[in-house]
Amino acid sequence: MEVGVKMGMKGGGDEVGGKEKEKMGYEETELRLGLPGDGEVVRKRDFSHTVDLKLNLISTSPTDDKDKNIVPSHLDPAKPPPAKAQVVGWPPVRSFRKNMLATQKSSGSEDSGEKAAFVKVSMDGAPYLRKVDLRMYKTYQQLSDALAKMFSSFTIGNCGSQGLLKDFMNESKLMDLLNGSDYVPTYEDKDGDWMLVGDVPWEMFIESCKRLRIMKGTEAIGLAPRAMEKCKNRS
């Protein structure tokens, strides 16, 4: 099969080649994970760096030269090894199989650390559902960032300055939130009750959350009494 159309090398080549240089700089604008103290460097091979928070984005450096000058973080004595986080879709084990094995393990063994906790996420106004594995995240903030990213095309401008998740510790802040048009994440717990996300410690949350729903603040107002109660109990 002959390669008829030569796209790149001559006419178009310069266009592409010229962009090479610029590409090296684009990383600055590229969304990156940058663990604290990481500096500007993105190491293409050091995948364990590049995963944690984002659902589907792993940034890689397109050129070789950078690689040779980098000390991988696990060899660099100045940096502690990053916490091992899961790369999305790697190793390539099908979800069906992962879920099966996870359910088996949890029924038998002490260690349920790897049990996948997939829950459906719906957002008011979005035409389709998404699914997230809650065990991919360690804090509410990580979950919030991921959700914001997932539904970004709908929430642009509607998230407020602090992202989806607000501080529920403060009664008056809570009332502001529920009166506004910002989006509020809520979840259905094991008992079938709908609660505001953020009211219980993270570990307890992932155990009891069955599904997530991102709704407008004004609609979540019905959940206010329970949330208020919790605020009161804490203070």
Partner: protein
Amino acid sequence: MPKRLAYSLPDEVLEHVFSFIQSDKDRNVVSAVCKSWYEIERWCRRKIFVGNCYAVSPKMVIRRFPQVESIELKGKPHFADFNLVPDGWGGYVLPWITEMAGAYPWLEEIRLKRMVVMDESLELIAKSFKDFKVLVLASCEGFSTDGLAAIAASCKNLRELDLRESEVDDSSVHWLSHFPETYTSMVSLNISCLGSDEVSFSALERLVSRCPNLRSLKLNRAVPLDKTANILRLAPQLVEFGTCTYSAELRSDVFSNLAGAFSNCKELRSLCGFWDVVPDYFPAIYSVCSRLTSLNLSYATIQSPDLIKLVSHCPSLQRLLVLDYIEDSGLEALASNCKDLQELRVFPSDPFDAEPNASLTEQGLVAVSLGCPKLQAVLYFCRRMSNAALVTIAQNSPNLTRFRLCIIEPNTADYLTGEPFDVGFGAIVVHCKDLIRLSLSGLLTDCVFEYIGKYAKKLEMLSVAFAGDSDLGLHHVLSGCESLRKLEIRDCPFGDKALLTNAAKLETMRSLWMSSCSVSFGACKLLSQKMPRLNVEVIDERGPPDSRPENCTVDKLYMYRSVAGPRFDMPPFVWTKDEDLALRLSP
């Protein structure tokens, strides 16, 4: 002289000759011989395979092939299995069912893979095709037991219902009871993916007892052990059986009942399921083991000694799926007992743990390649590999057609030499001349792609992750692999140059997937413009790609050839060149 002979044969004779030609490839070649053969062939083609549901439109298929009885469609790209394709991407079957409902009233078979199937589609199937016989939904989603109930109630001649690895929503309908009492045609039933609420055991028993032609039955997990024996006694003619949950401790009455039931099954050749199995029950199946050709223990969390004992009773085994609990010692036992082995798949029991929890290394696979001369297909997850082992495997198993190796930790080097695995995989493509599918892993430079481009001339599908140094790697593959149909790449430093240089190649392939690579949006736009029969989809959840500079890389790229033009069922996070869509993207 030959030309006149061809024209002197009446159409009916040609049609009869064509009826012996079953493969799609051959049929396509036949239809290209001349116009009259094209016409004859299209009227007598009964089976259609569409590898990418967006490559052609249902109307086009119907226009060309007016009398189709069987259709197979595939939707999402393969990497959707690993959650790389966001929900809502597409792959809806409803438009196909809608068109076919009108055009093919005598459609008998529908096989779907990785498609979104809603209850509405199932209901439409149930009411549109009077002689419907086969429904296979592999890795599909979007439907509930309501849809299944519609199929059960209306399809009087249904022979096969296979829901393998699909996601079914429970609507609390006892769908199995919707098979009327007069229904007796079931030959193959696979409900292994269903949860406990979705299957009424008594309805299942009644169904099995009135279907004398039942040959394959794969139950779901929730069927208790003592019930398994009952089912087997009702269907001793089974050839393929998927077992269910085993109870926690050995009970001798249950055991002997089970052993008795199995011993009646003289035709049994294939077993799977074995969820939560307790090894003490294995002797109950020893009576059938000597005849077993296929064994799927990949959900059985049992340890090597018990696996070895079981496997040593199965000398006729051709296909084994198992977890890494089998360990090297178990694979050595397999190699010495099962000389007919053709396919081996070893899955990781603990894929996310950095430390191995089972003593499974490259040695196990080497042993199997040494001991099993008929080995053709391998899927192997391990944590350690060496080039020496790969070379040995390549030399011992030149008949390999499918070789998929997953070294769990990305960028792992040869544990003996610290080298990349270029030489090892190079040996695979050099020795295994009939290789059609290859998955790479471990530390790899551009060199391995040079070998692949040079030697893997029959390779049809290549999966690459965390490999390569530069565009040259991708260029070697695209310019060298003549038979390449599907290429899927993730986390590799491949960018615009290789793609643009080999743009024409892309139209000779079914599809190309690239995620977390270095392809710029500008290149995607260029390809879209220059290649009208290529659908270039940029999947990017960060928002519209044209809101960023053109030299920004795209998150995910899925390109496939199509004669149907751009699709119109895309979610907001998928961009293609259609100008109007740019307007749809703004919130």
